[in-house]
């Protein structure tokens, strides 16, 4: 027969167990973003230009190939690395040269970066270059943005207009 002292002890133990589970399951609160901050996310997936030009095979060259391989126009698969640079109010936030993905380096270059910034008006400049380094940046977006606290501003690359867009 369980004694009164043991019963009380078990009650305390179970209560402590429940309180511990209940408390740490959702407390204490974690402050991730100060009340006056906003978030800027730069993310895109964009394939650089091909590293070389396409060319046409001559009839002699085609004749040497198996019938099912006789493609007249041949393009190199490899892509250029994509360079990207983000600055906010003239201050450089991010600069990277992104290598193409894929075993043959023939797929898109991708980026994802999150920045925590003060809310308010900022001058944003983001640039991208998808050709040889000598050609520099080929797409540029410069714009003032007004960020409210807690806002998430997404900077993505729109293939349709070949430039960055803000969301």
């Amino acid at each position: 027969m369980i004694k009164l002292g043991q019963f009380a002890g078990q009650l305390i133990a179970y209560t402590l167990f429940a309180v511990t589970i209940g408390y740490f399951s959702a407390s204490p609160a974690y402050v991730r973003l100060a009340p006056d901050q906003a978030v800027v996310k730069l993310s895109f997936s964009h394939a650089g230009q091909s590293v070389g030009d396409c060319y046409e095979r001559s009839d002699e060259e085609l004749a040497k190939l198996a019938p099912n391989m006789r493609e007249r126009v041949v393009c190199p698969r490899e892509r250029h690395a994509v360079s990207v640079e983000l600055s906010l109010d003239g201050k450089l936030m991010y600069r990277e040269t992104l290598q193409p993905s894929g075993m043959s380096r023939d797929s898109a270059s991708s980026a994802y970066r999150r920045f925590t910034v003060k809310a308010g008006r900022h001058f944003l400049k983001v640039q991208l270059g998808d050709r040889s380094p000598e050609e520099g940046y080929t797409s540029v977006l410069e714009q003032y943005v007004e960020l409210v606290p807690g806002q998430v501003l997404v900077i993505d690359f729109d293939e349709g207009i070949s430039n960055f867009i803000l969301k």
């Binding site: 429940a18 399951s25 407390s27 204490p28 991730r32 991708s110």
Partner: protein
């Protein structure tokens, strides 16, 4: 260094054990049933999860609403089930972590036990993946935080060509298809966890996967109480990827490492968790344990009774056709599985000191302490007793040191495990008349270093398990104390009590 840590943690556990033993008794001490409690919480999670799944809408747009319906419109069952699902998951992490720390502190992870330890390491990852994935499905602000942070963390690994975090850039990027994948994972990963839990207990005989009824009912009531008092609720409304998560109430049992990602790089956290996983995995060999001699079968004395096969706690014994007696079986010891506890020797019917053959050899024996030597040591110990009340103490190397309680009326012998003591030795000691009583001690009940030594000893003495103690042995001349490691004071007191009771009934 490692030993220093072990002893320090062990001391804390011993203190906690003493308290819990007083309150719950040894058989219901929750610290002795951490693994079993983890299994129990897992089943609570499964049952509550199945109920939730009936009402859950498996799309990003409807998931939040379906959870809200359960929480508020059906609070009396759906809401309680949701809370129970969460709190049982938290309890699972608590008992699992304590189980790991305890097995480390009690040095129960090396030698033949490496398999249970190493297979327990992936359980940690699977348990956390299951729990964190579950939070994701609610698709509230907490889910949003977890989704984005997890994706950013995983993206550090060169797995995906496109960053996973792009799925959560803004509301416009969210797809139901990706959400369906998460639901599939929240079912698949717990199934993998269950499989891993099954593998984890494979090299253990009669693994305890159910806690005592008292603990099962008590913990369930505690979890239901917290479910009613502080029901699990969604945070901050439905997830909105266009608005950042500023302040969030984290489940610290699962998400303790997430805030690190704000101060460290994702790679830093991978390094920490990967390093921890690696250290845990190789811990049984840091440094390699010195292998104690394993049990040896003597075919001439093994009659194939299967008692050692039934009693071995680590499935180290199998039976095969007898090498010398056609139609009989004999025991075979798997050296890599044998933990050198000697419980098999204690179960062997040939391990009796009454045998009058010149060279006493058991059917299965421990090279470091053969039954023949145990009989000799028993005789020598008895000869040292000079008081009117003479007590022989049999103890175990993993519990309180019995040598420390010796005096002119008390002699002590320590065995690798108390389960190695054949019950016939009690009869032998008392029949010889050299001792007034026999005191048996070892690890705390339900917490034997070799898992079953004290349980089998209890059952053998109570006549419930072969080899049984003969009925002619007066039970008043036997006293048993299952206690922890550092309980010298309690042991001394109980032996003194025993001495007084023996004297009172004239056994002097």
């Amino acid at each position: 260094m490692l030993t220093f840590f072990q002893h320090g943690i062990r001391r804390l556990f011993d203190l906690a054990d003493a308290g819990f033993n007083r309150v719950f008794g040894q058989t219901c001490n929750p610290l002795h049933q951490l693994g079993a409690l983890s299994f129990y919480f897992f089943w609570l999670i499964v049952v509550s999860g199945l109920y939730l799944y009936i009402f859950f809408e498996t799309s990003a747009t409807a998931a939040y609403e379906s959870v809200e319906y359960l929480t508020h419109e059906q609070w009396y069952l759906g809401g309680v089930m949701r809370s129970l699902h969460r709190y049982a998951s938290d309890a699972f992490v608590v008992t699992m972590t304590l189980h790991l720390i305890r097995e480390f502190a009690f040095n129960r992870y090396r030698g033949a036990r490496w398999f249970s330890w190493v297979t327990g390491v992936p359980l940690l990852w699977l348990a956390f993946a299951s729990g964190i994935g579950g939070y994701w499905l609610v698709w509230d602000k907490l889910a949003q935080y977890i989704a984005v942070t997890t994706a950013e963390w995983v993206d550090w690994l060169p797995i995906f060509t496109k960053p996973m975090a792009r799925n959560f850039l803004s509301q416009a990027y969210l797809s139901d298809r990706f959400f369906s994948l998460l639901i599939f994972l929240h079912i698949a990963i717990p199934l993998m966890l269950l499989l891993a839990m099954w593998i984890h207990i494979q090299r253990i005989t009669l693994a305890r996967t159910n806690p005592s009824r008292t603990l099962a009912i008590g913990t369930l009531c505690a979890l239901l109480a917290v479910s009613l008092v502080r029901p699990a609720l969604s945070q901050g409304g439905a997830a909105n990827l266009d608005i950042a998560v500023s302040v969030i109430n984290l489940d610290w049992f699962y998400l303790l490492t997430y805030p690190l990602l704000e101060v460290w790089s994702a790679g830093g956290l991978w390094l920490l968790l990967g390093g921890l996983t690696l250290v845990l995995t190789i811990l049984p060999w840091l440094p390699p344990a010195k292998k104690a001699p394993v049990a040896v079968v003597d075919p001439d004395n093994c009659n194939g009774c299967r008692r050692c096969f039934a009693d071995c706690p680590f499935e180290a014994i199998t039976m095969q056709a007898h090498s010398k007696r056609p139609g009989f079986e004999e025991a075979v010891v798997n050296q890599s599985l044998c933990a050198s506890c000697g419980i098999c020797a204690g179960s062997c019917p040939a391990s009796t000191p009454f045998r009058s053959i010149e060279d006493l050899v058991s059917g299965i024996d421990m090279p470091q302490l053969k039954i023949k030597e145990l009989r000799l040591k028993t005789k020598v110990a008895l000869e040292q007793l000079t008081d009117d009340v003479r007590i022989l103490v049999y103890g175990c190397d993993h519990a309180t040191d019995v040598k420390a309680v010796q005096n002119s009326g008390v002699a002590a012998l320590s065995l690798p495990c108390i389960g190695m003591l054949p019950p016939s030795f009690l009869d032998y000691v008392l029949q010889e008349g050299s001792a007034s009583g026999v005191f048996i001690t070892g690890c705390a009940g339900g917490d034997c270093y070799f898992r079953r030594g004290n349980t089998w000893t209890d059952q053998r003495i109570d006549g419930q398990r072969e080899p049984v103690l003969r009925a002619r042995v007066a039970r008043e001349q036997i006293r048993i104390l299952w206690t922890g490691l550092l309980q010298k004071k309690e042991l001394t007191k109980k032996i003194e009590d025993f001495r007084v009771s023996l004297k009172a009934v004239g056994h002097d």
